[in-house]
């Protein structure tokens, strides 16, 4: 790995030009918490690294109207320490809280988590539930890819090799008068520095009267080759009166077509399925609690 060329472009245009020059032999590196580990394991197949760390375009985090823009280069620590993120996007805030360690969160970026595209990536379920849109830039310009179209295979995204993830446009879940909240739960063997055995994300929107769930987004990680939405679970929650919605329905429907965990050395598929049944209603209950609704006992 020592013989790599390492570039530190100072602008997005410069980074794109370098990628144009070096082509497939160059990889982008953001925080490096994935890339450097692969490099040290001699699993990195490239001749050059192009660092995205210095790019001002990628490090913005701001609320503009009804859209929360999260630059790809924003570190997990910055999200964790952002009162705006905690207030508007509690589902994402939950996730960064249990990712890695302080040292890791100080350098790891949300864009890196998206582009690594591991099934266990903890920000991915929340971003799926929030219906974030990936803004990809290349020399040809910018295109927008919705999160649910982003993950095409294990560690594979819809982004082309010449594209840089600029950031994510997140429609504010509470825009207008809609009541909405979410919750993320990660099952780990220890409290820090662990990959998820599974993770579950639920974002709920209430109807105007605040009596039924108008819209639900449910996602899970490490239950399929990519992070997935659990569509059957969403359908079971939508239209349901509040407290009853959680008790049986979500659990029964959580294991839809997209949920097909496998055995790994970390835990069994059986355990993962059982935990999806437990954690989906639990996360939905906590999301309701956050809207001031007593959802009863939900596991």
């Amino acid at each position: 790995m020592k013989h790599l060329d390492y570039y530190r472009p100072q602008s997005l245009d410069e980074a794109l030009a370098l990628k144009g020059e070096r082509g497939a032999e160059a990889l982008f590196i953001a925080g490096g918490t994935d890339v450097m580990v692969l490099g040290r394991q001699k699993k990195l197949d490239c001749a050059a690294l192009i660092s995205l760390r210095g790019l001002a375009e990628l490090t913005q985090m701001k609320l503009e109207g009804d859209t929360f823009f999260l630059g790809a280069g924003v570190t997990l620590s910055r999200i964790l320490n952002s009162p705006e993120a905690a207030r508007h996007l509690p589902i994402l805030h939950d996730a960064v809280q249990v990712m890695g360690s302080t040292q890791m969160r100080n350098v790891a970026t949300v864009g890196g988590n998206v582009m690594t595209a591991a099934s266990s990536g903890d920000t991915l379920g929340p971003l799926l539930c929030l219906e974030a849109v990936c803004r990809l830039v290349s020399a040809q310009g910018e295109r927008r890819v919705p999160m649910h179209e982003m993950f095409t295979g294990p560690r594979v995204t819809a982004a082309r090799a010449d594209e840089i993830l600029l950031g994510l446009d997140i429609p504010l879940p509470t825009s207008g008068d809609r009541k909405s909240s979410g919750c993320f739960i990660k099952l780990m063997r220890r409290a820090a520095l662990d990959l998820a055995l599974i993770n579950v994300s639920v974002q709920l929107w209430l109807d105007e009267a605040g009596e039924t769930i108008a819209k639900a987004r449910v996602a899970a990680g490490v239950v399929a080759p990519t992070p997935v939405r659990l569509v059957e679970s969403e359908e079971a929650l939508e239209g349901a009166p509040l407290a009853e919605a959680l008790k049986e329905q979500a659990a029964d429907h959580a294991l839809g077509r997209s949920c097909r965990p496998r055995d790994s050395d970390r835990c069994s598929s059986w355990y993962r399925e059982e935990m999806v049944r437990v954690l989906v209603p639990r996360a939905a209950g906590r999301a309701l609690n956050r809207m001031g609704i007593d959802a009863g006992q939900v596991g």
């Binding site: 013989h3 390492y6 450097m36 580990v37 040290r40 690294l49 040292q103 350098v107």
Partner: protein, 156 residues
């Protein structure tokens, strides 16, 4: 391709020729002979190589050396005074019995320093979060937490 970079290391302006894939850990140990920066897991998971870069604790074993260009880096060697007087956090670690085999100590002290610089009177929970990335296999966490509380008490 070697590239000469300049940065601040424990308060002094330094320069070094680094290679593209070189880690900050290798740079600090091999070029500057700062052996207080320990290599444990080599994958960012044990915290033994923790250093402070521009105020933030990070694991040097997976941090590209090139990225400290223009930055300020603090290792454990930068804490005690030139006369050998210990930093208050180091003193607290000694006094509270927070040092056993010593391998995790530099990382724990630097995680504590980054925390206290940012938050001079942290709660026990905040201390535990700050050092969650520093593994101690002698399992002396209680003393480490108490040492950090002690250091916070002295500062304020």
């Amino acid at each position: 391709m070697r590239q000469v970079i300049e940065f601040e290391l424990n308060g002094q302006e330094v320069s070094a020729a680094v290679t593209g894939g070189q880690t900050l850990l290798d740079l600090l140990r091999d070029e500057f002979e700062l052996y207080g920066v320990k290599e444990g897991c080599g994958a960012g998971e044990c915290g033994a190589c923790t250093v402070i870069v521009d105020g933030l604790a990070l694991t040097a074993c997976i941090f590209p050396a090139r990225e400290v260009e223009g930055a300020s880096v603090t290792t454990i060697e930068g804490l005690a005074s030139a006369q050998g007087e210990l930093h208050p956090i180091q003193e607290s670690f000694v006094n509270q019995g927070a040092v056993q085999c010593g391998f995790c100590t530099p990382g724990n002290v630097l995680s504590a320093k980054a925390l206290l610089d940012e938050n001079p009177s942290p709660s026990e929970e905040e201390i535990r979060v700050a050092i969650a990335g520093n593994l101690c296999r002698c399992t002396g966490y209680t003393q480490i937490v108490e040492a950090i509380q002690d250091a916070a008490g002295r500062k304020s």
